[in-house]
């Protein structure tokens, strides 16, 4: 395994007296899918919220290292995490821009590049050559991901009107249009039927292999988690209880205990 892309060290998040995440450390490399699993309320989404600037961690260091640069995510504003550190995320409850078309959703995700190329929109008004080129590239990138997610036919449909499974994939496509190095997916398979979640597995593996980015995955659907993860971190009550490759996690006694409870005769 190469040097880690993301290093989480001693992350704690407290809300008043409640410890949502306590002293959590793990790493996630690029070109790999790292799954974070655990029962409901284990603190998985809290970890994502700390990574993407929604919460400021009570304690801990979140280091993202790529292309010779190091970013300390716990100190950065949300939009800087997106454009400087290049961390993208999706949500459990889908958060697309519902009144924009699928294509527009993907183009708006390339806002920073386009804004620079258009000299804060002023150059764009006069049809600057550099801006026209940047816009073409943005549309091409958007079309590429629409194609990968098998959504090309929906390009000009308002995002809010898309079928549920398509919205899930569009959200992932939008995250990819920000050209992230780390992609955080919060339950991408929730509400998908088995065929759709098999599609999703293929898409995620393709992203990992083609883009060489790191994927951090929260998921309850074990067919997804066990099928595509390279590494699994298990949380329970905000603590890490196990970590390892899928086969080891499947056999881990403490994980089974967390999900299924204590066997009665051992008490």
């Amino acid at each position: 395994m190469s040097a880690p892309l993301l290093t989480v060290e001693h992350l704690s998040m407290r809300f008043g007296g409640l410890v949502a995440v306590g002293d959590l450390s793990f790493t996630a490399p690029s070109r790999a899918i790292t799954a974070v699993i655990g029962p409901n309320g284990a603190g998985k989404t809290t970890v994502f919220n700390c990574l993407t600037g929604f919460y400021r961690p009570s304690v801990g260091r979140l280091t993202l290292a790529h292309a010779g640069q190091t970013h300390f995510l716990e100190r950065m504003e949300g939009f800087d995490i997106a454009r400087k550190a290049r961390v993208a995320r999706t949500f459990q409850n889908i958060r697309l821009f519902p009144n924009m078309t699928a294509l527009e959703n993907l183009i708006v995700a390339q806002h920073d590049t386009l804004m620079r190329a258009s000299l804060w929109s002023i150059g764009g008004l006069f049809g600057l050559a550099g801006y026209r080129q940047a816009e073409r590239q943005a549309v091409d990138r958007a079309r590429h991901w629409l194609d990968q997610a098998e959504l090309l036919e929906f390009a000009d449909v308002e995002a809010g009107a898309l079928p549920y499974g398509a919205q899930r994939k569009l959200e992932i496509a939008r995250a990819l249009c920000t050209q992230p190095v780390l992609l955080c997916l919060d339950e991408p398979a929730a509400g998908l039927n088995p065929r759709e979640s098999a599609d999703l597995n293929r898409l995620l593996l393709a992203i990992r292999d083609a883009e060489g980015i790191g994927i951090l995955l929260i998921e309850h659907d074990m067919s997804v988690v066990m099928g595509i993860s390279d590494h699994i971190v298990v949380l329970d009550y905000g603590q890490k209880i196990a970590e390892g490759p899928p086969a080891a996690i499947r056999a881990d006694a403490s994980v089974i205990r967390a999900y299924l409870g204590e066997p009665e005769d051992s008490a």
Binding site: G78, A82, R89, F97, S118, S121, A175, C177
Partner: protein, 304 residues
């Protein structure tokens, strides 16, 4: 018939001015969900800036009317935009993320501050201006009544139309416009895809203020008088127009403005002029009873 036509012409010109101010209310409401009560004062400041610019240009000896108007427009739009930006930076941005009522109260405070500042600096008396653009076309003569369409009314209508088309295009086709629509739909998500939300909101205030300044220039030329209190009245009317058309909707603001202008013109033409405001607000109430989201407004979608 001739009389009707004249009221129609007057109503459209007045409505265009209301529409321009209403856009500022509707854009700000769309993006941060607050009523910018200081917007009427920005319009008033735009009117004063126009007056100052026109007098300055006259003092400099520029007698070419189109050039003088273009310079005045630029001057008023630039400085009003600066006011708009400053108001947002000082009074609203520090309160972002607080409860809904706080920026509203801050806006009312800002409105009073701006009004009193102008009153102190410029005096409370009404400031007159010599007519700059005179003359017009005679559309129709009949029943001993002459229907006139003044050149100024033509300028008001054409300029408003051009600005409306320009801004609609801007919102739908530029990078900034896309960022504004994204911020309007989901502010947190917009930040997560790399949009600088604060800067986008500032740009919205700047655009709204520049349009209000255009309306300020038009009113200065149309009525030939300016005082520190015109912002309140025009602000309430334009706000009504924005709500009538469906707050948050750009074409709605324009439609609402036109309707309010027409209602006022026809009411003052056929009934008593004192009750023209009553007529405008009564129509607003009626529309809101049957269409709570306004004429072109989209029903609010509950965000989860």
């Amino acid at each position: 018939m001739a009389y009707f036509l004249q009221q129609l012409v007057n109503g459209v010109a007045l409505g265009a001015i209301y529409g321009l101010i209403a856009i500022g209310y509707t854009m700000v409401y769309g993006i941060i969900g607050m009523i910018n009560f200081a917007h009427g004062e920005i319009f008033m400041i735009g009117a004063f800036l126009s007056l100052i610019a026109l007098l300055l240009i006259a003092a400099l000896g520029i007698s070419n009317v189109p050039l003088a108007l273009a310079l005045t427009l630029l001057f008023a739009m630039a400085f009003a935009a600066l006011y708009g930006w400053t108001v947002e930076r000082l009074a609203y941005r520090p309160l972002r993320g607080s409860q809904r009522l706080a920026p509203l109260i801050s806006a009312i405070g800002m409105s009073i501050v701006l009004q009193n500042t102008v009153q102190l600096l410029q005096g409370a008396r009404v400031k007159p201006l010599q007519p700059v653009i005179t003359g017009g076309l005679v559309l129709m003569e009949g029943d001993g009544f002459v229907v006139r369409l003044s050149y100024l009314q033509i300028i008001i209508m054409l300029l408003t139309l051009a600005l409306m088309i320009g801004f609609t295009w801007l919102i739908h086709n530029t990078t900034l416009g896309r960022a504004q629509r994204a911020t309007e739909q989901d502010m947190t998500m917009a930040a997560l895809v790399g949009i600088d939300v604060d800067r986008t909101i500032s740009a919205t205030f700047v655009m709204g203020a520049a349009l209000a300044a255009v309306a300020g220039l038009m009113v200065t030329l149309y009525y030939g008088v300016v005082d520190f209190y015109i912002g309140f009245h025009a602000g309430v009317k334009a706000f009504t127009a924005a709500v009538l058309g469906g707050i948050g909707s750009l074409p709605g603001a324009m439609l609402g403005g036109l309707l309010i202008g027409l209602i006022e013109a026809f009411w003052s033409g056929y009934f008593t002029i004192e009750y023209k405001d009553v007529a405008a607000f009564a129509i607003l109430i009626l529309v809101l009873i049957f269409r709570p989201t306004g004429l072109l407004g989209r029903p609010e979608i509950e965000k989860v």
